[in-house]
Symmetry: C2
Subunit: 477 residues, 2 copies
């Protein structure tokens, strides 16, 4: 708390890690590239996890757990998959003091081992669809890491489903992307753009990959979750077959979809400011902090009495923390809870006690603008309303920021300028050569081809060839 | 479902794995010693997890997450710890295609890496106590494995706390053992015995270990959770110090405590019978299954109408499944849900429709004894009451079974007979030599020295020396 946060316009990347460390969301660990998720960060992740898990169950999915270790030979069964993941593997070669006959890979993702089990569990069309999700940890040997965004080990969920037809698998893939978008927008207040990944950006082993893309505070893109239609690629590699209604053996169609603690990084970067975190009320570990203000012992009695009334009024309806520590001043506490992003602060001083009121201060509107006086009698509904208003305003602010920094260039020069300062939404012919040129010259990549398309055709922003779709180009994390 | 379950008296161990596989709690995996937790087993684990997590939070603990990998040098810092865990380690030697400079151990438990972080986080007495829990996976290279009871990788929680004084650490250790006992007794209906482990049975690195011990259906013991008072052993190994109120540096006192999916194995073995699982209502993934009984289409209409009334009456108050599959007969369904241990079955046939009633059949009392007729009008409270009765009866039955198979031998010959057929609760002098003799001659070990002691002294059952405490001896999993 004594340290200062680097301002965003001075060093955005430094600001980001300052916030994480000082707000005690996470810490570096003694293992290179691995992060420790501290209780405050875990509670945020837990709220996000619960919000997602509810949606998974509501759409008919069940949780299960598959082994951490995968035989090396499994990874090698699907050609694109092994090519994509081989450079990133952590390998166990010794167990119980002996060298293993076959090395075990620490799962980078679980399509292969789950595929193997599905081939045993699925016999007939009656066994389909299989709709399973796993919450767990995975390891990818990354060289350049950054807390939440890219860590060697990370927490995530991975859904794996098997279906009788291509259409069902495709519908599942799109449904889960919608679940992610719904959760991002309505829980995290992050206005994501759902769309299809380009061929060069899709998952290793997928027919089609979809993603939700968000704009961070530095106007760069963050792929926030993905959903993959895996065709029959893994079904063929792992022999996942079913007897159809005509008693004929068919390969299944499978999907996978994942969201990781990277979304916590998105929450930090989309909403945070130079004072610290700004957490969306629906996910904030502490939604409301109450700070008593007094100088004398006499004042203290009255103020603490009012704080008790606040606690009684709010009950279990919100996640409330009363900061009654004597060793810190109110101003110090205000700073601390602003740094930690608590959406709403309740201040109670002697004058408020006299007037039977409290002050509500909204984190997303610093200063006078965000302050209101509320009578103690109507506190519960005033607090609930304020949290709803904050949640909505945060989403609205993020939408406005994204839209103000999304450009629609019509020539390559203005395109290059656009991707240097935000998103470029523009026609693209779909050729990898054009993606490669853009990447080389601007470091921007295609983020997704949004579902929301203008229709008709246009001129590819790079080669001027015929383009049937618009794509988002941006520099990305 | 077509397969038969091996009866317990024929082959208990085979009965156990038959149940797990046929009830689809878990499955073997292609990785030696690793198990797949299937959706039904995961849902049971998830209910247990939630019951524990609530209790952890109510006692002031927060969740966090620490790295899966631990540098080999960390494991070696605490002398007893390295001695205990070295033979069981899985070691990552390669990452990203290169050999690592220092091998990484896949955590067998996290005292060391968490100790390292605590040494950074804790500065003064104001930072204490630190009360953190982690839900996650750990790996121990076991040679002989058995689903749930002993698997190479397992899911568990591990609590790690740091305190200013020995007394506080000791109180925490005992409190968490009480939390485990409360959860075992009141959620899992397993009458565990809390006590202290002997010196030879304690955790590698602990000053004192406590455990809860349960009697399985074959009268063997299962250590169901442990809580350890670690003294200053890890604090000294990892330099976890705090400035006390007199501004002097002191080592912290730490604890750790864990419960794993092994508890699911206990639920299977304590309550299961030759028909299958019997799950305690509080943890059962499905608490009530409703099975419609009809032959003609006309009957079907009336019965399904009544089933809809059942669904409406029960609402969200219980975890209900309606088994309306047309391709299976009611008898087949009865068997399936008995195998899967659903505590309460609702049967609705044409005669019940006419009488505006349903049949309740209790899983823990097979046959006529467990059947009652209940009017549709009072269904909700009848079902809630029945679930409470079942939960209580299951605990009572387990207590009676345990007590009937617990002996109080007073000479070594009857002691040997006692441990061949159940628990022996008897005087022990505390010497390892006596434990060793018993182990060699009977395969039984001291399970714990129960908190509940008769007082006074007695004669050690082995050496006839003076004994100040009674201990439980039994053959254990």
């Amino acid at each position: 708390m004594a340290e200062k946060i680097t301002p965003r316009n001075q060093d955005y990347s430094r600001w980001y890690t300052d916030l994480i460390l000082q707000a005690q969301l996470a810490d570096y660990s003694p293992v290179r590239g691995c992060m420790v998720l501290r209780p405050y960060g875990f509670a945020l992740w837990e709220n996000l996890k619960n919000a997602l898990d509810r949606r998974f169950k509501a759409t008919g999915h069940e949780n299960a757990y598959f082994p951490l270790f995968i035989p090396m030979s499994f990874i090698q069964k699907e050609a694109q998959h092994v090519e994509g993941f081989s450079p990133e593997l952590a390998v166990v070669t010794h167990g119980g003091g002996k060298e293993l006959e076959e090395p075990l890979v620490v799962r980078p993702t679980s399509e292969t081992i789950i595929g193997e089990m599905y081939s045993q569990w699925i016999q007939s069309y009656r066994d389909l669809p299989v709709l399973i999700n796993q919450w767990g940890n995975v390891v990818r040997w990354e060289l350049r890491t950054r807390p939440f965004l890219r860590t060697m080990e990370f927490l995530w969920q991975e859904g794996h489903t098997a279906h009788a037809t291509h259409e069902e698998a495709e519908a599942e893939t799109r449904q889960m992307l919608e679940v992610y978008a719904d959760c991002a927008i309505n829980e995290a207040a992050i206005p994501v753009i759902p769309g299809r990944k380009s061929e060069s950006e899709k998952f290793a082993g997928a027919d089609t990959s979809y993603s939700i893309e968000a704009m961070m505070g530095d106007r760069r893109a963050l792929q926030s979750a993905t959903s993959h239609s895996l065709g029959q690629n893994f079904a063929k590699a792992f022999d996942i077959k079913y007897l159809d209604r005509n008693n004929e053996l068919q390969y299944c169609w499978t999907t996978s979809w994942g969201l990781s603690w990277r979304m916590v990084g998105a929450i930090i970067m989309v909403h945070g400011d130079d004072q610290g975190l700004v957490l969306p009320p629906r996910l904030a570990p502490i939604q409301v902090v109450a700070v008593p203000i007094y100088k004398t012992d006499e004042e203290r009695g009255g103020v603490m009495g009012a704080i008790e009334k606040v606690e009684a009024a709010l009950g279990e309806s919100v996640r409330l923390k009363v900061d009654d520590r004597d060793e810190y001043s109110p101003g110090w506490k205000f700073n601390e809870w602003e740094l930690r992003g608590v959406p709403l602060r309740i201040e109670v001083g002697p004058r408020d006690v006299a007037k039977e009121q409290v002050v509500l201060a909204r984190r997303n509107r610093p200063g006078r603008e965000g302050k209101t006086f509320v009578p103690l009698s109507g506190l519960a509904s005033a607090v609930t309303d304020a949290l709803t208003v904050i949640q909505n305003e945060m989403l609205q602010t993020a939408i406005e920021f994204r839209d103000a920094n999304t450009y629609h260039p019509t020539d390559y020069e203005s395109f290059k300028e656009a991707v240097s300062k935000g998103f470029a939404l523009t026609w693209w012919c779909g050729e990898i050569a054009c993606e490669d040129k853009v990447k080389e010259e601007t470091k921007a990549t295609t983020r997704c081809i949004p579902f929301d398309q203008p229709g008709g055709t246009g001129e590819c922003i790079v080669c001027s060839g015929v383009a049937e779709e618009v794509a988002i180009f941006a520099r990305a994390y």
